[in-house]
């Protein structure tokens, strides 16, 4: 086999990049590099792995906003308002890789950049930390420093002299327009840099593997950018970029060290919560105030904070088994939620409390977010609750109703009083054409019928006692929220489904079992070996071929 090192994977770690002696079993060579130069691990050369296409992804709006904060400070971050993300397959990251820009895209970026420019002129301190001349010696020569240094950060690569010249020309034109005002030149120079496709789009094309022509290894700068965007939620620091350009992030060990360092950064929990924002998609619809007079947007906000605090507790504070998110016997509440759940409020404004045993609550599936999101404005939906669990927790797809099925809800005979469960059993589970799909949805919702459309505990529905006992396949008999939560937590599909979703979010493409099955199964196994700790999953993911390789540019 020809030993041709892929650029960016030279393994010549100069400093701090991980002088690797031992490769782990996730695709790197024995020397810790990823150059595909031998078949020593059995994964390089001749494998069946075909990564998804490389290409460009538009930076997500949270990544854009955080990057502005990194480059220009809080004031500029506060006014950064890029075009909204467009989701595809449930993820903005996939939309950012697949969907064409709207016609208003550049206008919205420009509006944002102009605002940022004004904010930086008024508050130049952060920019001056990269380019001191902005405050120390403002003048035309400074425009060149700005283009070189800020351009390097924003575009994630050094600029050519011609590119610097193009940018400086704009600055000078603006300075003249501003009648000699340095800050006019500064503002429009920043607009010029931020409006460039080199800032807006993240290019991930890698370098072709010498032995596997369908595989392209992301370069060091591409890798640190991809990892930073995932774990930090922003572009990498200038120091990291320069180190990557020097070849210090070409080894998988260096990437692991880098990922661990980012996970310890204060920005990591916010960035990873962006993932969960999409994974859980907790947009809580408003409620009918006649049916739920205690509904308010403030209550919905409290619900969201409850779920976010449990997430952060499991992943960051306790750094514990992900399944705790489902079977925790505690939660985090404020006065709003204490009133809703019928519990005593904690002493602090939002504090950790034990869940009351008599309501059989456990973890996320008995929190207001899940329960209220998957309900109607005026009442419960057993279908929605079950559908959400199947689709998001277990990655089990329920097809839409076939066209020849009558989806209509029959009229309940006047005077006949029925619970929602009784209605749904009649219309969703008696007819085989409906039951073939609804048998996997409504029964899971039946178990949660003791929680109303806001998540309040109840014992009656429509004036009739609630029957929450169901027998559901391998999960056996369940009678309450704890039973359901335990089954969801212990089902191996739950942790695997989280892995699938992190792949989607982290690289902007669906997992592909036709071409990536070994690597995905390996990631499942890594997660289990790490006792299902999400931080370790992230490390395994970013050091896997699933993350480090792309296919031909799409």
């Amino acid at each position: 086999m020809t030993l041709v090192a892929a650029p960016g994977c030279q393994g010549d770690d100069a400093d701090g990049g991980g002088d690797d002696e031992v490769g782990e079993d996730n695709g790197e060579d024995a020397d810790g590099t990823t150059d595909g130069t031998d078949e020593g691990t059995g994964e390089e050369g001749g494998d069946d792995f075909i990564p998804p296409h490389g290409g460009m992804r538009r930076m997500l709006d949270h990544q854009y906003v955080n990057s502005i904060g990194y480059m220009f400070g809080d004031e500029a971050q506060a006014v950064a308002d890029p075009p909204g993300d467009l989701a595809l397959h449930g993820y903005d990251a996939i939309g950012a890789a697949e969907i064409a820009p709207g016609l208003d895209l550049v206008e919205l970026y420009e509006t944002s950049a102009l605002e940022i420019g004004d904010a930086v002129v008024a508050n130049p301190g952060r920019l001056a930390s990269f380019v001191p001349c902005v405050t120390e010696s403002p003048g035309q020569a400074c425009y060149t420093d700005i283009a070189q240094t800020l351009g390097h950060i924003a575009w994630r690569r050094p600029l050519t002299d011609a590119e610097v010249s193009e940018i400086v020309d704009i600055a000078l034109e603006a300075e003249e327009w501003g009648e000699g005002d340095f800050n006019a030149g500064l503002k429009y120079e920043l607009v010029r840099i931020l409006l460039s496709p080199n800032f807006i789009y993240v290019k991930e094309v890698g370098v072709q593997d010498a032995n596997e022509p369908e595989e392209f290894w992301l370069t060091g700068p591409e890798m640190v950018t991809r990892v930073s965007l995932l774990i930090n939620g922003r572009i990498p620091s200038l120091a990291t970029l320069e180190s990557a350009e020097a070849g210090n992030y070409d080894s998988v060990d260096a990437i692991e060290d880098f990922a661990r360092a980012l996970l310890a950064d204060p920005s990591a929990p916010d960035a990873i919560s962006e993932f969960f924002g999409e994974y859980l998609d907790l947009r809580i619809p408003g409620k009918n105030l006649d049916a739920f007079p205690n509904y308010s947007e403030a209550l919905a906000d409290s619900m969201l904070q409850e779920t976010d605090m449990l997430l952060r507790h499991v992943i960051w504070e306790a750094d514990t088994d992900w399944r705790t998110f489902y079977d925790a016997d505690f939660t985090f509440i404020d006065q709003n939620l204490a009133d809703l759940y019928g519990m005593a409020a904690p002493e602090e404004p939002f504090g950790q409390v034990e869940l009351p045993a008599d309501q059989n609550r456990a973890g996320f599936l008995t929190q207001g977010t899940f329960l209220a999101r998957n309900a109607h404005a005026d009442g419960n939906s057993t279908t929605r609750r079950g559908h959400y669990i199947q689709e998001r927790m277990l990655c089990f797809t329920i097809p839409p109703p076939p066209p020849d099925v009558n989806p209509n809800i029959p009229e309940i005979p006047e005077g006949e009083q029925m619970t929602l469960r009784e209605v749904m059993e009649q219309i969703h589970l008696e007819e085989e054409s409906c039951a073939s799909c609804h048998k996997d949805m409504d029964p899971l919702g039946f178990v949660l019928e003791n929680f109303d459309a806001l998540g309040q505990w109840r014992t009656e529905d429509n004036g009739l006692p609630i029957d929450s006992v169901v027998d559901y396949g391998d999960w056996g008999t369940m009678s309450n929220g704890v039973d359901l939560a335990t089954n969801v937590a212990m089902d191996p599909r739950t942790t695997q489904c989280l892995v699938n979703n992190i792949i989607r979010f982290g690289r902007g493409s669906l997992e592909d079992f036709n071409n990536e099955s070994d690597e995905i199964l390996e990631l499942y196994a890594d997660f289990e070996t790490a006792n299902f700790r999400v931080k370790e999953l992230l490390v395994s993911f970013v050091t896997s071929e699933l993350f480090r390789q792309v296919g031909e540019p799409k």
């Binding site: 327009w177 409620k287 929605r384």
Partner: protein
């Protein structure tokens, strides 16, 4: 903390404010009445708009009574009585989408394409197979106005399980090229008028910046594959769209104030009547100022689940109501909601009717509006007899007074909750008829027939509705 779970797109634009709503001034007070020509110097501009409401019709209360010239409004079209002469109603035609997954196929009446990418492991998923009619018209009118089209929405609600784009936008430039509807009136105002109201005129400078970044787009294209090249082409089009706005020397009319309303209330509590009025007013302004001649308005997305709190008897989600027999009777939620929707469409049509155009006609005289839904009978997701309501006479292009075209009457045994029969013809014939008003050379719209001769496109316009 919660902001990370409360997705940013949901908050978009909320920073502007939105505590007060400023009523837009009356249009006739704002127009420069000395103006006699349109932005491109022509005197014969025609506007096009698509209008959509999700979850279908109740056909036996919607389809007009009688056909031809002597037809009467049925119960659900009564809100359009004030503009009846401007209506050409087409019923009884078949939406020829080759696939059905519920709701998505209904969108074919706006583009003539069967949706693609069906399922893809996510159940209720598809993407549109081609460009919508409004985009074809924008292309035909390219360069005649500063803005190629404005795409608005009223309700923010979407189906909670729909991960594709077929229904998330009413306007598409092609496969995975949606024109996402703007649901904030303030953002819509900004998109239409914001660049015409500058404190300090830096437009030349900004045009220089745009000009200088184009080569960078080209360089990037050389490094990427065909799919990303298509996206970068769209990026260049986006640059061109901004350039066109910045190049506007002076608007043809005085500009309205920012309505200062964000439409940020949660689903189920949205102020849909107010948002519809603000969006309709902005569309009328945009047409009357000749900033654009193409618009779409998605009032409520198909399979979306909001409770329409402003509808009498509202109980539960609108989508649910379309399937819930308890809501269908006259005077109940679904029945009232159908009338409510037509009132909202009627507001826009009357606004256009009451707005003078430069040539002395009113805007409705010079507009063609197409209204439909994602199904004919919403309860069973039928696409037989899918109604297409045309409003406006298109500067004499469509019949005025309008007619009711119907190949055959609705079966007497039909009740809401069934696939309606008989159904014949092809809804896309209507699309081609409209397209030819803007592009007389057009001979086809939508997808070509497959090897079995099946396809949703059309090469045969519907002459009956033409003047």
């Amino acid at each position: 903390m919660r902001k990370f779970l409360k997705r940013r797109t949901f908050l978009r634009g909320a920073t502007i404010g939105g505590v007060a709503t400023v009523a837009l001034p009356k249009l006739d007070a704002m127009l420069n009445l000395e103006q006699t020509a349109f932005a491109d110097g022509s005197t014969d501009a025609v506007r096009y708009l698509s209008w959509f409401m999700g979850n279908g019709f109740v056909l036996d209360r919607f389809e007009p009574v009688g056909t031809g010239e002597s037809w009467q409004l049925n119960a659900h079209m009564q809100p359009l009585a004030g503009v009846k002469d401007y209506l050409n109603v087409v019923t009884g035609l078949t939406n020829r989408s080759k696939e059905t997954i519920t709701h998505h196929e209904g969108m074919t009446v706006f583009n003539g394409y069967t949706m693609v990418d069906i399922g893809q492991g996510q159940g209720f998923f598809s993407n549109p197979g081609g460009p919508t009619l409004d985009h074809l018209i924008s292309e035909a009118l390219a360069g005649q106005t500063p803005i190629s089209g404005i795409h608005l929405g009223v309700s923010k609600a979407q189906s909670p399980a729909d991960y594709g784009w077929t229904m998330h936008a009413l306007s598409h430039r092609g496969y995975l090229q949606p024109n996402e509807p703007i649901t904030s009136p303030s953002a819509a105002w900004q998109s239409l008028f914001g660049n015409l109201m500058q404190d300090k005129d830096d437009r030349e400078l900004r045009l220089s910046i745009l000009d200088s970044i184009k080569p960078e787009v080209d360089t990037l294209k050389s490094e990427l594959g065909p799919q990303d090249n298509m996206r970068l082409e769209a990026h260049l089009e986006s640059i061109a769209a901004l350039e066109a706005k910045l190049a506007v020397a002076a608007p043809l009319c005085e500009l309205p104030m920012d309505p200062m309303f964000e439409n940020s209330e949660p689903i189920n509590n949205e102020q849909l009547t107010l948002v519809n009025e603000l969006m309709s007013d902005l569309m009328a302004y945009a047409f009357s100022c000749d900033l654009t001649r193409v618009a779409t308005l998605m009032f409520l997305e198909g399979a979306a689940e909001p409770q329409l709190g402003e509808v009498q008897g509202a109980q539960g989600s609108w989508h649910n109501a379309s399937h819930n027999t308890n809501t269908w009777a006259v005077g109940n939620y679904y029945d009232n909601g159908q009338i409510y929707m037509m009132e909202r469409f009627g507001y826009l049509l009357e606004k256009l009717r009451d707005t003078p155009d430069f040539d002395g006609n009113n805007l409705l005289d010079n507009t063609i509006a197409l209204m439909s839904s994602d199904a004919s009978d919403g309860s069973v997701h039928a696409i037989t007899r899918q109604p297409m309501l045309l409003a406006g006479s298109g500067r004499g292009y469509l019949k005025y007074p309008g007619i009711h075209y119907q190949p055959a009457p609705l079966s007497g045994s039909y009740n809401y909750g069934q696939w309606p029969t008989p159904s014949s013809g092809n809804c896309s014939d209507v699309l081609l008829s409209i397209l030819q008003a803007f592009d007389p050379t057009a001979t086809w719209v939508g997808e070509e027939p497959d090897q079995w001769g099946e396809g949703a496109g059309s090469g045969t316009p519907l002459p009956d509705i033409l003047a």
